[in-house]
């Protein structure tokens, strides 16, 4: 539709995008200007760079390699609970990292379930700290993502090709070479690039399972430069390095990926005639489900025992987290909705770029930049919570835009002309048409943002003083003080809060949504 008139105004969205761009680019500029290049990179920095790259490569390779048989099994088998399992694959996205780590420790740790069992046979316990622990946690988070991406590609293979191959009498191996291998060649570079980019900015995993000179990511090194040495120049220099890495990785991920990170419509199993070994598929599905579910079960089991041993600090931290998540979600919607509307008018597609900027800058890089900017005017620790809410909102923005933009486009395309011909004002169109029509997407984006913010352990670690903590930070502190019972209880509380926030905003609203 080419026309002058639009039912929505693009200007609030243009303003919001400018604000986000100014925030991100401003903090990056602050980092670049403050970077202490004279000090140069020391040996420890090169080790951190190497570790960052090695763990990201290993995490990407293991996640993708293990996802292939799981996705293949899910693509060609139909069984009760298949939909639930595929839905479960989306859960790690909103699972607080610290909760997953406690669960993984409970299963794979020194005093965990597997070590206990190995002890029965006189074997030494597993050692989870270090490179393999970091990779294990990253695989836990990214195997589901890889599986969903590959499964989607698998299900997009037209059923006719399988029918033709079956008609030609292709057996399993021939079918794989003929149809599935070309698909994998097409999708795998994108999957690897996305997971590599995600793992580059890993902070909470490296903080809890890494550490030490041999297992420090750049993101963690930034944190250490801050908290141990309070060397802002070095933190800024490391941030600049991290930024260069993430920009390259984000560009690669954008280039290789087809741009549909998480989507619905994965419940259609293509009919296959090549059979294959059901036992093998069963093994992969069972192993993947156990790998995902056991740590969650461990959190629930050990958390129930710890629920009554939580100090009052935990409840204060929980309240803080709820407030931060609420504020962060409000800020996100105030930014994302106008931006989505502006993009929907069809003339400001470039705005989506400013949303993607959040992917290129890591939380600790933005945090470092904000710290540098705020310090001359105010005490950064006093602003710890607002800064956390803001950074969380900016980090959730790319995901929110992906959810909101198609819906906003659809509403404007479908109802825009009618509203214009009725002489409806932009304000009325917003309140009476756009908001009600986009309610499911708005609720989904809000739920996602609230859960992400609730579980975030990143920028808060930079800004907080001992008097202030969000729940994830409090759990980390309890772990550091070896109060594992209390930490487990708090982790269960955090799990309930994150999932509860998501459910309340997304599903709870859908129960009585209008059609």
């Amino acid at each position: 539709m080419a026309g002058r008139a639009q039912p929505v105004s693009p200007w609030p969205g243009v303003g919001a995008a400018a604000l986000v761009a100014a925030l991100i680019l401003g903090t990056l500029a602050a980092v670049a200007l403050r970077a202490d290049a004279a000090g140069g990179f020391g040996r420890a920095d090169w080790v951190a760079l190497r570790f960052t790259l090695v763990q990201a490569v290993l995490s990407a390779v293991f996640s993708a390699a293990l996802a292939i048989p799981v996705a293949r099994a899910l693509a060609r088998r139909r069984f009760p609970g298949r939909r639930a399992l595929i839905a479960l694959l989306g859960a790690p996205f909103i699972l607080p990292v610290i909760v997953a780590i406690l669960g993984l420790l409970q299963v794979f740790g020194r005093a965990g379930w597997i070590s206990d069992m190995m002890g029965l046979f006189g074997l030494p316990p597993l050692r989870i700290y270090g490179l393999h622990g970091v990779v294990l946690a990253h695989v836990f988070f990214n195997l589901p993502l890889a599986t969903r991406l590959i499964l989607q590609a698998w299900q997009e293979i037209p059923a006719e090709r399988f029918r033709l191959a079956a008609q030609l009498g292709c057996d399993g191996i021939a079918m794989f070479r003929l149809i599935e291998l070309p698909m994998l060649k097409c999708i795998l570079p994108g999957v690897l690039a996305v997971i590599f980019a995600i793992c580059l900015t890993s902070f909470a995993v490296a903080l809890t399972l890494g550490g030490g000179p041999r297992a420090t990511t750049i993101e963690l090194a930034i944190y250490q430069a801050f908290t141990y040495d309070f060397d802002l120049g070095r933190a800024a220099l490391l941030s600049a390095l991290q930024l260069a890495l993430t920009v390259v990785a984000a560009l690669a991920a954008l280039k290789f990926s087809r741009g549909d990170g998480f989507g619905a419509g994965l419940d259609r199993a293509i009919r296959r005639w090549d059979g294959g070994a059901p036992a093998l598929d069963l093994f992969w599905i069972g192993a993947a489900a156990a790998f995902l579910l056991l740590p969650l079960a461990a959190v629930v089991i050990s958390g129930l025992a710890g629920l009554f041993e939580m100090p009052a600090l935990v409840f204060r931290a929980a309240l803080t987290s709820v407030l931060v998540a609420t504020a962060s979600t409000a800020v996100l919607l105030l930014l994302a909705l106008p931006m989505a509307m502006a993009v929907a008018t069809g003339r400001y597609g470039v705005l989506e770029l400013s949303g993607i900027l959040g992917l290129a800058a890591s939380p600790l890089v933005i945090g470092t930049g904000l710290f540098i900017l705020i310090r001359p005017i105010a005490n950064p620790t006093a602003l710890a919570l607002p800064v956390t809410a803001l950074v969380n909102a900016v980090m959730a923005l790319p995901f929110a835009l992906r959810i909101l933009v198609p819906a906003a486009r659809d509403v404007v395309a479908r109802h825009g002309r009618l509203a214009l011909s009725l002489d409806m004002s932009k304000r009325t169109f917003f309140t009476r048409v756009l908001l009600p029509r986009m309610r499911p997407q708005i609720r989904f984006a809000a739920g996602l943002s609230a859960a992400l913010s609730m579980g975030d352990l990143g920028v808060i670690a930079l800004f907080a003083d001992p008097q202030i903590a969000t729940l994830p930070l409090q759990i980390y502190r309890l772990m550091g003080a070896y109060q594992m019972q209390a930490a487990a209880g708090a982790a269960l509380l955090l799990l309930l809060l994150s999932m509860g926030a998501f459910w309340l905003l997304d599903r709870g609203g859908r129960l009585h949504a209008e059609t």
Binding site: G3, H415, R417, S421
Partner: protein, 230 residues
Amino acid sequence: MLKLDGCLIENGNFSLRADFTVETGSSVAIIGPSGAGKSTLLEAIAGFRDLTQGQILWNGKRISDLTPGKRPLAMLFQDGNLFPHLTVEQNIALGLHPNGRLSTQEQAEVQTALDRVALPGLGDRKPAELSGGQQSRVALARVLVQRRQILLLDEPFAALGPALKAEMLDLVAGLLAETGTTLLMVSHDPQDARRIADQTVLVADERAHPPAPTSNLFENPPPSLRNYLG
């Protein structure tokens, strides 16, 4: 009187010229091969498309600079004529007050319109609970309360069966006669034109031809119309 004064509509490689007048109160069918620009012509009159050249006048006043909502016309599209999340009454009320609440008198007006299109008592329903024909009636009831001087129809009844479509056209003809509204109606069916429109505009060869009496046109079709009719 609606006057298209030396209008040129362009969109990429597509172009359409229109230079004619339509008398107040007349009913005009717009007919022509698919892709020739029938809907484009209507969209330009309604204000959804810019003119490259020329102007559109209504009773001597230039309307081609106005936004769609400020033009003295109501339009029904091929689809999407009702907001699916609003009730029938709310949808009709938007024709009176797109941005506010209705007075008691205006609420009564909505009920009268519902009665006029033979849908009494269905005001609380959502569009999805109605049949296709009933949905068209609701859209017509809204057009009725809008009280605009020109009505543009871009094949809003195309999805209905032949009998239902004829019924709707008769309803439209009745409403036009009551209110003296000028009608411009896109159609690809000569039967529609014969049923309701005394004049017909042929859109073909990048040109919207001036209105000609419908019966004459179909009895002695020019070559481009003859090709279209087959």
